[in-house]
Amino acid sequence: MELVGLNKETVNQISEIKQEADWIKEYRLRSYEAFEKIENPAFGPKLNIDFSKIIYYKNNEQEDKIKDSWDDIDTEIVDELDNLGVLESECHLDGIGVQYESEVIYHNMIEELKKKDIIFTSIEVAMKEYPELVKKYFGKIVSNSENKYAALNGSVFSGGSFIYVPPHTKLDRPLQSYFRINSRNMGQFERTLIIVDHDSELHYIEGCTAPNYSESSLHAAVVEIYVGKNSKCRYSTIQNWAQNVNNLVTKRALVEENGTMEWIDGNIGSNITMKYPCCILKGDKSNGTCITISVATNKQEQDTGARMIHLGKNTRSTIISKSIAKNGGNATYRGKVDIKKNATNSTSLVKCDTLILDNISKSDTVPTNICNNTSSSIEHEATVSKISEEKLFYLMSRGIDKERATELIILGFLEKFREELPMEYAVELNQLLKRNL
């Protein structure tokens, strides 16, 4: 079935399809009210979204259960996912979940994790099976009135991952979720909640694609992450949406004492992206890192960056942003570091580098740095450069043709990001860049 257009009735219908608890339904309705009130962001790219044309929910009625074997899934979809490399990537992971349109269709993880009491499932299943756990964190890290698209997500969310890592637990390999949009005008509104309890560690990877249609699609996700005391969470993603998808995502982590949150965030696809992964450094000695790259070509607008809110004492944050603009693309860094009054002895380093490949492309750096105590400091560096003729000459003088030499220089520019990726993804990134630049 398919729900097109947005009103209170759509919200109710989604809630009914999911047969969910009242508190969730109420949450949806409150979110919808907020959505109606809140305007589009006053900053960044001009958003022109016709909310009446979007499909807010789409599923396969015969298949309403999440499978843990590919054999049980429609072969057409399996082939499609296989072509995208999803099945192959499973062997490098401890667990994988796949969402197709609005619903999670596949979920599997290795036995050891089940023994360790790690939970990795869809948000809907979690809401039914672990209601108390979900209720404690859901909507507490990102509020449903945060911005228009967080509110939209709150009202129509469907799918997304739920992960719980119990105390003193480390995973050897990453968990991954894969999101696929396949229909025209599709809106995907997954909702991810990750809880890394104290003294634990998780690496989570998110992947996504969609075919290119002339009608635009919308991806408005919300990701909430709780990083407990002495814990570490790394969230890596390379978004490669087709260039007709508007990607408006709210991602936020709350970090407790001595915890570490790392966002590794690549933006290559999509039409307009607005995404500023955030760390709320609540606990003393907590750390936040965000390494982002964005590549804007053709009419793409990548409005990305990071936010670091320092509340605890002795907190540290690092933002490294690398943008590339080509062929009339616009890659803008928009970030905020806010060191509050009580966050004494804290430091933040912000480094933004931009590479502009021609004269018709644009890039901007819009940093907001606020430091409200005298024992803390924010360091900010920004550079804008072109592909240097001198570097090209050097590489070419060793027999490397211009195209390949340019590619090497671009990959070099992105090295700080590339080296943070697992091997398979670094290779995939190289290929993506080759295709897009």
């Binding site: 570097k391 050097y394 003088s397 043709d401 390949r404 070099g412 090295e415």
Partner: protein, 255 residues
Amino acid sequence: MNLVIKDLNVVTKDQEKEILKDFSLEILPGKIHTIMGPNGTGKSTLSKIIMGSSDYEVKEGDILYNGKSILPLTVDERSRLGIFLAMQSPISIEGVTNSEFLRTALNERREQPIGIYQFMKDMEQGMKDLKMDSSMMHRSINKDFSGGERKKNEILQLKLLKPELIILDELDSGLDVDSLKIVCDNIQEYRKENPTCSLLIITHYTKILDYLIPDYVHIMKNGKIRKTGPLDLAKQIENCGFNYTEDVSELVTNE
């Protein structure tokens, strides 16, 4: 390899400055040629022109490599033809490792890409020959390399890329006495294995010429070769400076 430079007139790209004026020079197969000349006379410019740099424009004249003009060729094509320029100040490129770079460069001139094992072996051997630290393989090209390390890195590339014409632009600057010897020994070794390979050495000092004994010494001034002679000429320059040549330049014709 034979290189003929004929009546070359070269200006900067912005047409503001004339650097080479009616410059002619022939580099003979298997021979070592040296160019000496005051600062700013156009020696590095000459080397970059041969390599095909787009910072300059050739107004007149021609450069023939084994009888064929290379002026229409791009920088990378000239490299693959067999020209190698060890630069006066090699730049650094962040994020591109030495090994990634060299493997790409090697593969661009091969039909079949080189196997990773073979490549590592060749590269390690080359670094050992040059007494380079093997960790440099995985570092960004010349990033945080000392002056001497950069020069050695140029010669490492040379050893792997196997050129037919080697231009050394002030290779000796930045190398300590021991390193200079090591590097020159490596070049001599390479020449022995490739007897038709020619060498053009741009230098201010004769020390390097003790190891790489030139067949011809050319004195360049104001964008032109003023005098050509044997090794002695280089020694005279080192002792008496370039004014000495100016005096006699009218009397001695170019070869």
